[in-house]
Amino acid sequence: MIAPIEATGLGKRFGRTWALRDCSVRVPAGKIAGLVGPNGAGKTTFLHLAAGLLRPTAGEIRVFGRSPQSQLLLLLDRVGFVAQDTPLYGQFSVGDMLRFGQKLNRRWDQAAAEARLRNVDIPFDKQISHLSGGQRSQVALAIALGKHPELLLLDEPVARLDPLARREFMQRLTEAVAEEGTTVLLSSHVMADLERVCDYLIIIAAGQVQVAGDIESLLASHHLLVGPRVNDDVRLSGAELIKAQHTERQSSLWIRGRVPGLGAGWREEPLPLEELVITYLSAPHAGALPRPELEEAAS
């Protein structure tokens, strides 16, 4: 099956800085994938490359098997994009914004777009610049969904929303994509935004993919071991050490895999998702580790 997004060795350089480097990742169909990483990690660059707004400096990216750069016209109808800060025309009314979507898209479901905004009580005659942040995001989402995209890309859609609006937005998003089986790639620098809705996770830092995989399998394969003080060069059979922290008497080891038959005084704890993400983001060497998702991608 052709993956909605597949990047191999993808890199993008602006001037002398690599915003994204040697990025190989695959977003499986039908998933809600979270792209998480600190600000400046390369999330926006990755999404812009997938949306055909940027050209790669190295490697390539394929969306439904096609290049978003040279074959964009074939993809525009199939890919919805909501850019960072949900840009809309401030002088337009909500109704104008929908008409904008209608006029510029060959594939467009006006009734569905109108119904979506009615559901969240946004009046069509209101000017965009008078909307709240949450309402803006809902309008942007309605426009991106109006063409019934098979892939929906969202760049930090809730970054500027209050917690209530975040929840509302995420809820509407999951409802909409559940109905149609849309694949979603959603970026955020706040893990809590993604935890509730995503079933796939791509962690990106300093322009490189640290880890990618199903959230369930990520959770099942990562653990925290707590036990008596050991050195950093401790050998773990069947597991890889991602990060170690020591107090005078105790060591905490963040590992991928499982150590069978733990020694006396050691206990294994599950790693909460947020903790897992932070672990990868704070461990600079973690990106060099073999990544579980590449085995899947190769098969």
Binding site: L53, L54, A83, P87, L88, F100, A140, K147
Partner: protein, 298 residues
């Protein structure tokens, strides 16, 4: 795209219509008054002096005295370039809305070409109409009127200059990516190019003619009011020695005077040549802007 362009730029369209309309009304009114006056005007004096003494004639006189349409027609292309051309791409980038526009069902190339066509064509038509009214205004003033003085204000140069200014604005907007600096750059570049062409290039489109005469009363516009007299007359004494640009006490005894000029019947050839230059430049700049937006803003 048509509706989207209209919805986005209708305020600018309104402004352009108001300004061009105002100018058209003023020009047409003055032309009409001059035409009325010309009926009972002896051919030896300018028709401006024959304007009736009633309030309508006085209004026309004031308009003429302050050269309203001359200034207006010289400035309007620059305004179109700065206020319509420069923000065309720059404002989208400032607001991030290019990411919205370029991820709908229309490619960036099509988006830009449609927008350019839908904005530039009406502007050129409006500029051509207003510039044509200036031609009419000069026509009613009789065959002895000098057209060269208002070279920049007549069609086809006015629409060509408008085209050039808007192209310049679009390109600066795409490269600078911010509206206000792009507006400033457009104005400066437009003035430099227009003044540069007018002062340095225009007189060379066709080699000027030389007039040599012993009749010192037939100098410059006194010899031919419809011609463009280049530079100052050069006075020579009987030995062929150059005395200078002026005659008077202490300057020696002049014998003849040499002047260079472009005759009145070359006027429309010059208008055509300059329009072609400006339009050619505009097309090149637009091609660059399209290249920049589709290939470099990535």
């Amino acid at each position: 795209m048509t509706w989207v362009t209209w919805r986005q730029h209708r305020l600018e369209a309104l402004w352009a219509l108001v300004l061009a309309g105002l100018l058209a009304v003023v020009t047409a009114y003055t032309a009409y008054e001059l035409w009325v006056a010309s009926a009972n005007c002896p051919p030896t004096i300018g028709h401006g002096d024959c304007l009736s003494n009633d309030v309508f004639g006085q209004i026309a006189q004031s308009i003429q005295r302050f050269n309203l349409f001359q200034y207006g027609l010289a400035v309007l292309p620059a305004l179109a370039g700065a206020f319509i051309g420069a923000p065309l791409v720059a404002r989208e980038i400032e607001n991030g809305t290019q990411h919205l526009a370029w991820t709908q069902g229309v490619t960036r190339m099509r988006w830009l070409l449609m927008k350019l066509a839908l904005i530039i064509v009406p502007l050129i038509v409006a500029a051509a109409l207003v510039g044509y009214l200036e031609v009419v205004l000069l026509n009613v003033q009789g065959p002895l009127t000098n057209r060269w003085d208002v070279f920049d204000q007549q069609t086809p140069v006015v629409p060509a200059a408008t085209f050039f200014a808007v192209a310049l604005g679009v390109a600066f907007g795409a490269v600078i990516r911010r509206s206000v600096p792009a507006m400033a750059a457009t104005l400066v570049a437009f003035v430099i190019v227009r003044v540069g062409i007018g002062e340095l290039v225009r007189s060379h489109y066709i080699a000027p003619l030389m007039k040599t005469t012993h009749d010192f009363n037939a100098v410059g516009t006194q010899a031919d009011p419809t011609a463009w007299w280049l530079g100052f007359p050069n006075y020579y004494d009987s030995t062929g020695h150059l005395l200078g640009n002026l005659i008077g006490p202490g300057a020696g005894q002049p014998s003849y005077v040499i002047q260079y000029f472009q005759p009145g019947d070359r006027f429309w050839a010059f208008q055509t040549i300059e329009s072609a230059i400006l339009s050619g430049l505009a097309l090149l700049i637009l091609a660059f802007a399209v290249y920049w937006v589709t290939r470099r803003l990535t």
